[in-house]
């Protein structure tokens, strides 16, 4: 019976995800909000179906009261979020709210399967994060002076970054974090947002002249440099790309991007020769199976998981995703591939892309230069991070060790992602209200 449920559910899960994803793109073809509204409602039904089926499978496996209560709590959280946004922010982007909840629920499913206790922890942080981020749109509306705090963003962001680098514990050869009272914080996740605000402040000035651009570039480079010193090259890359994109949008000059890329190439080559862990990652990337016996076997385990899972996946609890090191964080995508299948994973990729397109859609509507630039910056931050983690997991690019926003385990990551979504919602609502 159990196996039948697992195998039936495998296809049902895929079906709900595929339909959900399809609707996520289909809405872009509808012009009016009434037309879209029906599609959003369907998405919500599919979202809860996906969640229900997944947890039903896991309940059959565990048959414990805990999972029932936990499931109910999640439904309450997701439903609460969807209802609250509709009630308090009727002009919000419903696609974004749906996608946010869908990504969170995928996270809740795969994390529970991997390690139920940490999933509960993740749930609590996500719940707190949703409540916290719920006020963000209000703040954006009320505190227009936020646009003028360029130097505050810089000093807090860069200052924190330096402090963390000096004090922080080094985990996994990169990634900076420190532990306060049992809670591990990765301040970097939040500094990203400050960084985007700082750059937006610098580059949205009305008379954007070369000296200001140069100053912005030097200060942005300072962020990147600190991250490189902290050996968090994944984040360094994110900051760099985000800055390049924002610079291009603000100045519309491709020359800057070309210069930046040239500089980046030189820096990448230097990093390869300077840092042994960069070399190791590049080597693992080119020949993942030769280094099986070292600790970098993560990539080969990841590829085993993806390829053994195949199109439809092994089914929840039928694979061995716990053999992938850090499956809950950097390799959550591979764990999803293994048990829920590559087709499901492709849906996930497309949902992330749908979020990005919605972000961009909102950015295009904004006329205020600061908000607009900040919104573009956050969009790129989000999508590039998704690209780095998925690309690394499937050997498309060398591993950089960044979490998949809203899905991977990690309180700081999920919190900052929720805030990012909320900021963009806030900007959208602001524009809608005009």
């Amino acid at each position: 019976m159990l196996e039948i449920i697992t195998s039936v559910s495998k296809y049902a899960i895929l079906l709900t995800a595929a339909l959900y994803t399809f609707l996520g793109f289909y809405v872009f073809s509808k012009k009016t909000e009434e037309e879209r509204s029906g599609l959003y409602a369907k998405q919500i039904v599919l979202l809860f179906l996906f969640h229900l089926i997944s947890y039903a499978v896991m309940f059959c496996r565990e048959q414990s009261l805990v999972i029932l209560i936990f499931y109910a709590a999640q439904v309450a959280l997701l439903a609460g979020t969807l209802i609250a946004y509709r009630a308090f922010y009727p002009r919000c982007s419903r696609l974004l709210v749906n996608n946010m909840c869908f990504l969170l629920s995928i996270g809740f499913v795969i994390l529970y399967r991997l390690e139920s206790e940490r999933c509960i922890k993740q749930f609590i942080i996500a719940a707190a994060g949703i409540v916290l981020s719920f006020v963000v749109p209000v703040i954006i509306r009320k505190w227009t002076f936020l646009k003028k705090l360029t130097w505050v963003y810089l000093s807090v962001g860069l200052g924190l970054l330096i402090i963390v680098t000096v004090l922080g514990a080094t985990t996994f050869g990169s990634k900076i974090s420190f532990t306060v009272g049992g809670v591990t914080l990765a301040p970097n996740e939040f500094i990203k947002i400050l960084f985007v605000f700082f750059v937006a402040g610098m580059l949205s000035a009305e008379d954007l002249q070369f000296p200001r651009i140069a100053l912005a570039t030097v200060l942005a480079a300072a962020h990147v440099l600190v991250l490189v010193v902290a050996r968090d090259l994944g984040s360094a890359l994110i900051y760099f790309v985000v800055y390049m994109a924002m610079l291009f949008v603000a100045t519309r000059k491709a020359g800057y991007v070309a210069a930046g890329l040239g500089f980046f190439s030189a820096a990448a080559v230097a990093a390869y020769y300077l840092f042994s862990h960069v070399r190791v990652r590049v080597q693992t990337w080119t020949t993942p199976f030769d280094t099986l016996k070292n600790d970098t076997s993560q990539l080969s385990q990841s590829l085993f998981a993806i390829t053994t899972g195949g199109w439809f996946g092994m089914g929840l609890f039928e694979g061995a995703p716990n053999t992938i090191p850090v499956a809950m964080k950097d390799f959550v995508f591979s764990a999803i591939c293994e048990e829920m299948g590559v087709l499901f994973a492709l849906c996930l990729v497309l949902v992330c892309l749908s979020c990005f397109l919605m972000f961009i859609n909102i950015s295009l509507k904004l006329t205020d230069p600061f908000y607009r630039l900040a919104s573009v910056g956050l969009s790129v931050t989000y999508i590039f991070q998704v690209f780095l983690t998925i690309g690394g997991d499937i050997k498309f690019i060398p591993l950089t060790g960044v979490p998949l926003p809203l899905v991977s385990y990690g309180g700081s990551s999920v919190l900052s992602s929720l805030i990012m979504f909320a900021i963009i919602q806030g900007l959208y609502i602001l524009k809608q209200d005009e």
């Binding site: 949008v249 993806i306 492709l346």
Partner: protein, 496 residues
């Protein structure tokens, strides 16, 4: 890249404010759109790559021996497929006993023991290297979903092998109770037609016999070892093929001028190398040196070849490299280096010294010469099919490279033909078919006189369809022991 700049410069003088604002918005939006199109493209390639990984590399990756844990999970969902020859003989299949329990059975028992291997107890041979192929089901989606929903196991794919029962039987019979190995290939395609290693074992009894094989009692029992791919032996005189290639490369057309008078031994730097049984071969050309397998003359030839040339030849012929066959293989070893001293060099050029080769490797070498210098990638699996015969994947012959020129190949063919017509393998000189080959008697260990018996050959000489390598351990000279084994295989091949 300049299209937005152009827009920047040629601001159209808008007549009404609305239109101007619209143009302004378009101008403003353009870089944002460029950024987003860029990321959409990147994401589409990401998705494309994920599909590529699964479709093109998936089975290869999943088949890694390090992925055994997941493979075992698959085995719970799929009935392992069969290994079948091109002409429909089943070499390995899964059956059900009266309780409905699966078991693996090998209808030919010991005959294919090493090459087909076994699936239990860690696995070996093709059973291990094709584990994923056998455990994946590529039958119709509909059928798979249906079986999944009915909670029936899917039926795994079948692996169609190039192995040929008749040749395998002939090779196995010919080797008899001797320790040794034989590999039979198609020189034009690289297809392996037979691969025998002796002593063998019965794969059907592996689970029951496992305790014995892993006990101290079996410490000297090497019957599980696939000598054809993993046995490392000194090549003896068959290495003279490579020495000859080195000499030809260095002396181009002047090889015809080579002359040597063999007195039964040669001495250089106080080191003496003897001919087999100290036989004095008298006046020799390069060709007759090769045909008679004269050690003295070949030391003379080999020491005239620069070490780097010889190293290059060995490198071209896959020494110190992984043999690109999906089966556990040892690398053949050539220890030649700039630092090789005269004594080692004198030994190396006649196939002694520190050189070690596998029988499979020597078959590939002979096949490459027969195929006019074009080395083909050896393969055992011609295609993978679903249980109802739909081809999942087929493997076509693949060139590894041109290791010697056509003219060099012609000269070697002529030399190797002479070995059969006038040299050390005259017992193969028949009107029924033409063979070209090289014998070898490889001394091993420190004791003088004990030797492994080697023979490599291909046939027919002008348009080879079969290449063979044979080794008999501790048997004696190649002519006496290995050549008759090859003869039996050739007889079976031509006796259609």
């Amino acid at each position: 890249m300049a299209f937005w700049k152009k827009d920047n410069n040629n601001k159209p003088a808008g007549k009404d404010a609305g239109k101007k604002a619209e143009t302004e918005a378009r101008r403003r939006n353009r870089p944002v759109l460029i950024v987003s199109v860029l990321f959409v493209c990147v994401f589409l390639s990401l998705a494309g790559y994920l599909i590529y990984i699964l479709v093109c590399q998936g089975d290869n990756m999943a088949n890694s021996p390090y992925n055994r844990r997941r493979q075992n999970l698959l085995a719970e969902k799929v009935v392992r497929g069969s290994i079948i020859t091109e002409d429909g003989e089943t070499l390995a299949k899964t059956e059900f006993d009266e309780n409905g329990e699966e078991y693996r059975t090998y209808p030919y028992g010991r005959l294919f023991s090493h090459v087909v291997g076994y699936s239990l107890n860690g696995g070996a041979g093709m059973e291990a290297s094709n584990n994923i192929n056998l455990l994946m089901s590529h039958s119709l989606f509909v059928e798979q979903v249906q079986k999944d929903l009915l909670h029936e196991k899917n039926i795994g794919d079948n692996v169609i092998t190039t192995l040929n029962v008749k040749l395998q039987q002939a090779a196995s019979d010919a080797l008899g109770d001797n320790k040794g190995a034989a590999v039979v290939m198609d020189p034009k395609t690289g297809a392996i037609l037979a691969m025998v290693s002796k002593p063998d074992y019965d794969p059907n009894s592996i689970p029951e016999m496992w305790d014995y094989y892993t006990s101290d009692e079996a410490a000297d029992d090497t019957s599980l070892l696939n000598r054809a791919t993993q046995g490392l032996y000194p090549p003896g005189s068959i290495f003279k093929i490579l020495t000859t290639i080195g000499y030809l490369r260095q002396n181009n057309d002047q090889y015809l001028d080579y002359q040597y008078n063999c007195t039964g031994s040669i001495t250089m730097d106080d080191i003496t190398i003897n001919c087999y049984h100290n036989h004095a071969h008298g006046a020799l050309t390069l060709e007759s040196s090769f045909a008679q397998s004269c050690n003295s003359s070949f030391v003379n030839v080999g020491t005239q070849v620069e070490i780097n040339t010889l190293r290059k030849v060995c490198g071209d012929f896959l020494f110190n490299e992984k043999i690109p066959l999906n089966l556990a293989c040892s690398k053949s070893i050539s220890a030649l280096s700039r630092a090789t001293d005269t004594e080692k060099l004198m030994q190396t050029v006649i196939g002694q010294g520190d050189t070690l080769v596998t029988p499979l490797h020597m078959a590939i070498m002979a096949a490459a010469i027969g195929n006019n210098g074009v080395m083909m990638r050896p393969y055992l699996v011609s295609r993978v099919e679903t249980h109802n015969g739909t081809v999942v994947r087929s493997f076509s012959p693949e060139k590894l490279g041109t290791v010697i020129s056509q003219s060099e190949a012609q000269i070697l063919k002529q030399f190797m033909r002479k070995v059969v017509t006038e040299g050390t393998a005259t017992s193969l000189n028949t009107d029924a078919y033409s063979v070209a080959g090289k014998t070898g008697s490889a001394e091993y260990g420190t004791k003088k006189g004990n030797s492994h018996s080697w023979f490599v050959c291909f046939s027919p000489v002008e348009d080879p369809q079969i290449a063979i390598s044979v080794i008999l351990e501790e048997a004696g000279s190649g002519s006496e022991y290995a050549v008759p084994v090859a003869k039996k295989i050739l007889n079976a091949f031509y006796d259609n």
